[in-house]
Amino acid sequence: MAADVHKKKSWEVPNGSLAPGDGQHTERSESPTPGLAQGTEPGMEHSSPRREARGGKSSSSCGLGPPQPCGRGRWAHSSPAGPAPTGCCGMGRGGRSPLHPSPSMGDTRTDAAWPVVPGAGQEGAMFVHTRSYEDLTSPEDGAAAARSPEERRGEPAEQSSMEQISKDFSELSTQLTGMALDLEEEMRPGKEGKLEPSPQTARRDSVLSGKEEEDVTMDAWRLHRKHVFVLSEAGKPVYSRYGSEEALSSTMGVMMALVSFLEAEKNAIRSIHADGYKVVFVRRSPLVLVAVARTRQSEQEIAHELLYIYYQILSLLTWTQLNHIFQQKQNYDLRRLLAGSERITDNLLDLMAHDPSFLMGAVRCLPLAASVRDAVSSSLQQAKAKSLVFSILLSGNQLVSLVRKKDQFLHPIDLHLLFNLISSSSSFREGEAWTPICLPKFNSSGFFHAHISYLEQEMDLCLLLVSTDREDFFTVSDCKRRFQERLRRRGVQHALQEALRTPFYSVAQVGIPDLRHFIYKSKSSGLFTSPEIEAPYVQEEEKERLLGLYQYLHSRAHNSSRPLKNIYFTGPRENLLAWVTNAFELYVCYSPLGTKAGAINAVNKLMKWIRKEEDRLFILTPQTY
């Protein structure tokens, strides 16, 4: 049972069954596009990835997850020769970074029993009506004179004890302000030398991260639209989107100090707000994720993106392993284990900035004639193997077909992580890859093994076969061969190629003049459809602005304490409409010239059009093995 796995706290994932995730799949609804990628709103649920294991039913289905040796196998961007499940990488011990002592929050309270200062109350001053605060008295006969002599005598005593406390406190606050001050100093040009990491570590870092160092003292660095930092509870850098982790280690130390300061008071930091930007903290022990965003997104949306980053890290390590590492060694430098994966995280962040899938918590399908999709799906379904759990065919970031084991459901977040993995590397094009991967929403304690390959060199069609058995490369590879064979036999390859030539449809097909763009999400299936973003959203920043408007409407519609059913927004450059029901969500962008009556008509027309086209835009009959 999955729940037991966590308790063992072992490096090994036991040879047990990976029970499916959330148990949400029990509540399926009768939608036209039922349960393919199941799940409601993507995981804003709290903390523990520990899951309820589903009752005995599923345990018989598969024996997932062979013992996993330490670390995860490196990506096997293999030669066509095939499998290369390499051993562990970079899990060596030692090599602790000398840079940062962990900020421990010392107990600053010296003594609970402070002498009560006599006369410190204010009764003497209460001679004026409490509701009046204007000063009716001249300074001479004011409240100052009314203070009792005791009160004055009390002051020196108070001060001396205060001195003591301030001393104690200064130790603690060095971590808070002190670090910030150090950092400021560091930021000042000409003084970098002081806190520069030793050349050795710096070199190691640059080798590891493989991205060019960005000067964190420059305005350009400050003005990035969204910074993302990941750090361990010891305040050690794990990831930074811009600038090297080394140069930012003191900033991250301050972040951790802030987090632990509030935790020491049984409180939790959520976010900091300033003019033009917000800082959002997400705590997922043993990691802390922080974003500094200049976007219009809500705090919740930014936190949601940080959770994606967290899941991304889990997908490489598993929750079990991540916890084990930090239990063994609190100030472990996680970067050695994640070396080479920065690119995947970078890609995920870039993807989230312009792909609405993440905002919608849903997956987009490649528009495809139902007959062709059915042929593809049944070919996939027939090319099964005992250890296969999911067979996924995708193009770009759109889903072509997904076949799953009975009773096993793939959460949109897991699917997004897979999409991101594939889109972040071109090397998958070069052959068959066999890589361990954790699907954190499905089961955060064990690895699957994914067979990743492109069907043909020129075609943007990627096949992903998720297996439970590490040793099954050849079997799974054979599944691919069988799938391709069936595809050929059914003669749908041509039609598929044709469809790939136009992976997006134009909004003009809907035939509504003022309609510029829309997003329609079917809640029960976790799928959404959306046309290509066209003029006037041509420039990259215009596209992001449009997504920003959708984010804005989405955050208002889904506000946790004040959700909304309908929103109609009129701006100078476009009008937008949001409509959220139990079954679907619709976001529509109109030209600014249209009227509200026109907008309502357009929605009715649009809904009719989607219904008419649904078998092309969605996967209506998902297959199981």
Partner: protein, 484 residues
Amino acid sequence: MVSGGCRPQAQDGGGGGGRPGEAARSDPSQFLHLQPQARAQRGREKKILFYHPNEVEKNEKIRNVGLCEAIVQFTRTFSPTKPAKSLHTQKNRQFFHEPEENFWMVMVVRNPIIEKHKDGKPVYEYQEEELLDKVYSSVLQQCYSMYKLFNGTFLRAMEDGGVKVLKERLEKFFHRYLQTLHLQSCDLLDVFCGISFFPLDKMTYLKIQSFINRMEESLNIVKYTAFLYNDQLIWSGLEQDDMRILYKYLTTSLFPRHMEPELAGRDSPIRAEMPGNLQHYGRFLTGPLNLNDPDTKCRFPKIFVNTDDTYEELHLIVYKAMSAAVCFMIDASIPPTLEFCRKLDSIVGPQLTVLASDICEQYNINKRISGAEKEPQFKFIYFNHMNLAEKSTIHMRKTPSVSLASVHPDLMKILGDINSDFSRVDEDEEIIVKAMSDYWVVGKKSDQRELYVILNQKNVNLIEVNEEVKKLCATQFNNIFFLD
């Protein structure tokens, strides 16, 4: 160290202001100033100029102040010139304001708690999305403005007598002022802190104008004058920002305190003391209570205006006859004598009485013309950033210092959400939303004006909502262009 009293009463609702000395089980709201300047050598606690509640343990005060400093410093990493304005935590929200260089004000407001039952045990859960940032940061800014109105700037106090004087002034002012804050009933109107203007025809307006001119002529030491009717402003000689805060003081503190004698009419105890004065209804709201008593003290509150440039210190004389109130402000260097007060009473009293009844009459005529008021299908709030004009049919200012909204708090918060969305961009926008309760809420921003409407009908569609709002704009704001 001294203390005042203020707690947001998100939970127990009842009662007036917070009681000092009452330790709350969960975090009380704290209110503190600090001054990060003299750091190292002086010790941290010296920087705390005022802290409420004072009962808080010393080192906890120091820790809390340290956290604020750390947050502000930390955000300078990302924006050296625009540091943090608020901090959200699970339990509370903290608001930071630097009204004068190196002087910081911080206000901590606790998130509301709801009690839930889990396995028979009560579990407390913080509602983290209930407080609106803009509302409370505006409240904090107004705290400073109000302090400054009656005490001048922090810096001036430091120059006058160092930290000691400043601490005394802060203590004296905030101890009382904080008790008048009703944090749980703050809403969008606190963001605007606007001025309600009295609608008037030209003729009456000219009458008032000439009245003010005559008064300033006869009472030549008067520097500025302001005229209000029915708690609404008609004329002011002060700068907008000074008038805004003075208006808030008058309408939320001074006038409500003098409401009872007003309602009691001429039999009020104050009038009874002045039997010889039957030809008019004028009386002082600030200053002498009884002009016939030669020992009465002519003490008026001092206010500070134009603190950015000329820095003027003034005596505030508020004189009222029926619903009309006039504020005369005279230079603080000229102490108002009893003679002056008597002269003012004898000149202003009769004329203001006549004027007040004129305005009342005119107002009733206008009301009759505009037709009998039916129960309108909507309630609205309007605010104009240019002249600070504010109008609300949502609020009933019946109780002193608390403005009660007549709609569900969730709808008020949606208005607040819309307002904060509007302020993020400088463009004209309109937004119509349907809440879960099926009420429609409309926000419009055009030029410097903002209009918020809550519709009372539930079963209407977007187009009908639009029609209603158009009608409203046509009747109430016919000369204002709103983006359609």
